[in-house]
Symmetry: C3
Amino acid sequence: MLGECLENVRLTTPLVHNITNYVTVNDVANVLLACGGSPIMSDEPEDVADITSICGGLNINIGTLNKRTIEGMYAAGRKAKELGHVRLLDPVGAGASKLRTETAVGLMKEVEFDVIRGNISEIKTLALGSGTTKGVDADVADAVSENNLEEAIAFVKRFAKDVKAIVAVTGAIDLVTDGDKCYVVRNGRPEMGRITGTGCQLSGLTTAFAVANPDNKLEAVAAAVCTMGLAGEIGYANLKDGEGNSTYRNRIIDAIFNMTGKMLDDGAKYEVR
Amino acid sequence: MLGECLENVRLTTPLVHNITNYVTVNDVANVLLACGGSPIMSDEPEDVADITSICGGLNINIGTLNKRTIEGMYAAGRKAKELGHVRLLDPVGAGASKLRTETAVGLMKEVEFDVIRGNISEIKTLALGSGTTKGVDADVADAVSENNLEEAIAFVKRFAKDVKAIVAVTGAIDLVTDGDKCYVVRNGRPEMGRITGTGCQLSGLTTAFAVANPDNKLEAVAAAVCTMGLAGEIGYANLKDGEGNSTYRNRIIDAIFNMTGKMLDDGAKYEVR
Amino acid sequence: MLGECLENVRLTTPLVHNITNYVTVNDVANVLLACGGSPIMSDEPEDVADITSICGGLNINIGTLNKRTIEGMYAAGRKAKELGHVRLLDPVGAGASKLRTETAVGLMKEVEFDVIRGNISEIKTLALGSGTTKGVDADVADAVSENNLEEAIAFVKRFAKDVKAIVAVTGAIDLVTDGDKCYVVRNGRPEMGRITGTGCQLSGLTTAFAVANPDNKLEAVAAAVCTMGLAGEIGYANLKDGEGNSTYRNRIIDAIFNMTGKMLDDGAKYEVR
């Protein structure tokens, strides 16, 4: 059950090393604390191997990459692979620039991620070597919908098999697959797209869930995706008159803080295909 | 009407490339989403040309500049100029250090900004080559007030003409001018100065407004300034007992999220001189 | 009285130069504004000497250090020492990596800090040259408790004498000492550990308090520690149903914003040993 995956995070306090962008890093840290994990950030090439060694997982997000931090990503990724730690890639903006696409592709080869989480445009870029990423948001033309669901599932399964990773494509409908089984998740609210960094937060959360559930990573990633979506629903329901996206951000993290395994089991909306 | 400038942002979702400081960057992103725009951040010299190419505007803020990001600012600025994109400069701390003053002056020459937005001490530094910037806040002695308004308007108009840009000087009274017309804006609350980054947020917002109103940039900048000030008033009115500057930050962004063109037209307090 | 130390911050608006991590920097800035101080951030080696010169104090936090910012820390520290400004070190993660430990130790020698503020694992690392820092949180085995209080006080006093600094060790029980007198503070809530950056915020706050109370630094540091803990208690009491760590963060900063000297005097829980 997905709820147990959440409870395992709370029981084991996984320490997650994040090399992430400076836009949403504070929210990533607070989401990790909200779910029961513990965050640490370090991106200096000379610091990352020591730091990742004391962690259980590594979350690499290329949202505000630079030459120095890219070097840090490779160094941390290699060390985490050597130690058998969980490794997650969030290829923010892959397809929007040559440097981002090349960095994501290069890291995939070298680090061999356990989990790749992005929007559909980013994942298409990684799968096809091209994409139509509109900034850091998915292109509308790419979006997974009820109309193209069958085809989208087949595409994501194929990519997951190719890269030997669990792939989570998030959007209005979320897909989580290891190439065989695919969780189709229908939690969440469209208003979450009006907050910066819900994707980045989910990547941190997902890393913690995967670390805390080593024998059950696919279900753990699906549980993280459902947790974020359900928190988006609860947070939205908790909004008061006059509140908007800035308070909504807080209410989503608060909802994760207060979520129990039972709440997640009751609120998760998914099917397995 | 100013309200139409806001509505145009919501209708066109301008994508804004921000090279901004790491202190307030998350709020800048959420303000851009609140007003209906879409933010992307990138400061690596090898990444910025690609990123700015897919955007409509570029917001450069020197609040935590370093040698690498300065190079990124020049590269992005040149590309945005080549493409005819809206370019805004927020010269945070110009006058407080040699590096900041020189960077702001150098960027102005090279990038030829459409809009320059700062506090009066920063603008005086750019105009006179010297200033009395007290950290990142304006010096009290410089402040625009009802007593020196005439003189301040003349000064800002002259500077705008000299640099061929729209200049927005924000403080207790805001001035927005293209050298001919000057909007004198009296929205806002003094308590906004107790939140970090309301100026940075306004710079992001202003860029989005200018991109969405290409034939009407002066009015668009005035509309952005009124939007921020009005949101400060609404957010303040929404504060509950025991709330302070941290919650106030959220309530201001929330107010922008919920603002309509009509609300802006009804609430904007300005005269044209 | 501690309340007077807070009132002195509000009366003098100390300008604090922060070289701090990008995870919690926004909260550090808002806490400084909440208490009545004024923050400025700058970490570029060529910028820091100018910036620190116009400030009253320097807050160095190594939470996301890199080669360039380490150079900035040394340059700023040397300048601040030359000018006789208040200098505070927050050795985030000392003991968790070689680079962090060496940087903290090297800065201590070169900069001669007035105040060092960290958790017990970090302070043990600095004192003993080794530690068991678990990421950025203190190791449970190290924690100061009623059982080992006597021993912990003696240890911290000895370290403070050795390094000729005021040392603040924060945790469930906080210790603040100059080597002779030791304030034992019992304000705060365990839930503060579920928010990222309450330690970083306290370091910013402490710098402002020390700047505003030049003849009374030990009491000023104790006042800052009590202010943070008391704000944690007030913020917690102000939490509404369904709120969690993200909103709690705001409510703590709000509580500092609204705190008076009298509230601090009434709410501070400490003894001097």
